[in-house]
Amino acid sequence: MTRLSRGALDILMLNPELKLNTKLFDKNVEQIPIRQGFGEGLLEAGKKDQRIVGLCADLTESTKMNLFAEKFPRRFIEIGVAEQNLAGVASGLAAMGKIPFISSYAMFSPGRNWEQIRTTICYNDRPVKIAGSHTGVSVGPDGGTHQALEDIAITRVLPRMIVISPCDSIEARKTTIASVDTGTPVYIRLAREKTPVMTTEKTPFEIGKAQIFWKSSKPQVGIIATGALLHQALLAAEALEGKIEVEVMNLSTIKPIDEKAVVALAEKARRIVTVEEHQVSGGMGSAVAECLAKHRPVPIEFIGVHDQFGQSGTPEELIEHYGMDTKSIIKAVEKILKR
């Protein structure tokens, strides 16, 4: 089979209802940072809704909030390096009817200011939207202090909080716009690096809805991925084609988890591999395990960081080192078939 016809076959495996990017398996697939989608989404939402205000803790350009800040300087507040204040001030703005978006690196918000998020935002029932950028080891050379690997765990444990980890910049834009009207706190997980664009403008999006990106009529393994690593999962599915039948799910909303879709995949495949750039403890895989342990217990393999901190390196080196690359996913799929 030539490479070209192989690619054509791959596209046939993509869920046609989702109108995904047909070039997503190409080597030169378009790559855009997920955080860029947040910046564009906030700008777009801000044009339509006067209630939206933006607050940042000295990382306005890094989190791409600069797009909003430049267009709406009166609705943008620079808080400085003061993440605890960032959360509390946003709560106060929300109390007066504003819809605040706060942004920083995820290590600092929701990392450093977790208790303020719990008490002044969640406990207080204020619809503040928290954008945490620079998650995962793919932050790269900055090293372990700046690589948030615990943010899903600490946000999904909070009552009222919705947790979303978009897979690409387009989904991040849609997430940002959809989060305006939830009436709840929302955590939006962003990443720094350029990420393959897998979805298109036409791909449907709804908070709380998981989607099967790679379809199979008789899957032997279900792969559930969140964030940019979804691309590695799709590459794994491509590599396994003709050997092992898999389905690949994009679980961008981690909380509330799409129980129905996750259970349906487990019913169908009877084995699950979860893939996330996050600590295995408490992350998306744990959320899937909680759901399946209750409704449809099946064997699960967890791809993610195993109780370690990150370090400096290129994103590719680090993803490989911590066992989250396509090869590791393939190994996990092969391993679970023997369980």
Binding site: V53, R74, R75, I77, I79, G80, A82, Q84, N85, A87, G88, V89, A90, S91, G92, L93, A94, A95, M96, G97, K98, P100, E115, Q116, T119, T120, Y123, N124, D125
Partner: protein
């Protein structure tokens, strides 16, 4: 508006009633904080019966001033003053800290939605008040009429988060924001100046571009005047450092940090109520309030 002698007398009587009620409900509850609520009774009385623009029968009136209680543990004085102002029936005060009560051990909006905020963990209130003041600034600029009041303890000034908020308020020139510091010099582990000295406290606030007013926190006229004066400050937020006597009104409690959160038992209640009802022995027991 300055207070008339008659109004001062009325406010003092009301504050005394509120203190009596605080002792009463703390004994009923069997736990809770004593000293802070008693020493803030005068300031709460002035706020709710003189200064605040609010409508107790219409707690969601959009134009109302906002009052953020940062040190949520002194909520017995908040609940009592709210009840006496007509927000909810006075009898409900007896449910304090009980299962299912709207009056949670620390204020929670889920249970009592008319609260402006839920609070408890210290150091978080000023940020929220700054956010509220900023919202009005964004909407109305300098013409913002509403006042945002943040009530803080002196102990919570040990929290860095308070100063993060203070810095931002100064930067944004939030003249619609008033912070009140209950300078009673006690906290759980001891006297504030022993635990972590705050002095020179007024200099600290001035350094962040706040207007500072220091008052006797038990003098009704000084309290009311300070709130009035804050309205004349054009280009910065105001902090009122209210020097208070911890546990004010009951000699045994006064200035003793152990009464920060000590249990009020039946015997103590009886002693405290007698002292408050006779205005510290000024009235005969038969004439007591």
């Amino acid at each position: 508006m300055a207070l008339t002698d008659d109004k001062v007398k009325k406010l003092e009587e009301r504050a005394n009633k509120i203190r009596i009620s605080i002792i009463d409900i703390l004994e009923d509850a069997g736990s809770g904080h004593v000293a802070g609520p008693l020493d803030m009774a005068d300031i709460f009385t002035v706020l709710f019966f003189h200064t605040l623009r609010h409508e107790p029968k219409k707690p969601d009136w959009p134009e109302r001033d906002r009052l953020v209680l940062s040190n949520g543990h002194i909520c017995p004085v908040l609940y009592t003053t709210m009840a006496y102002s007509g927000y909810f029936p006075i009898e409900e005060l007896r449910t304090l800290r009980q299962f299912g009560s709207r009056l949670q051990g620390h204020p929670h909006r889920d249970f009592l939605p008319m609260l402006e905020t839920s609070s408890g963990p210290l150091g978080a209130g000023l940020s929220q008040a700054v956010g509220m003041a900023l919202a009005d600034k964004i909407n109305h600029g300098l013409t913002s009429q509403r006042r945002i009041y943040a009530l803080l303890s002196d102990g919570e000034l040990e929290s860095g988060a308070t100063w993060e908020a203070a810095m931002l308020a100064g930067k944004e020139k939030l003249n619609n924001l008033v912070a009140v510091v209950d300078r009673n010099n006690i906290q759980i582990d001891g006297y504030v100046e022993d635990i972590m000295p705050l002095e020179p406290l007024s200099d600290k606030w001035r350094a962040w571009n706040w207007h500072v007013i220091e008052i006797d926190g038990h003098n009704m006229e000084e309290i009311a005047d300070a709130f009035d004066m804050s309205k004349t400050i054009f280009d910065r937020p105001t902090v009122i450092i209210a020097h208070t006597i911890a546990g004010k009104g009951v000699k045994e409690f006064e200035r003793d940090y152990r009464w920060h959160s000590q249990l009020v038992d039946k015997k103590t209640e009886k002693m405290a109520l007698k002292e408050l009802r006779t205005l510290g022995g000024k009235l005969d027991v038969k004439d007591a309030l």
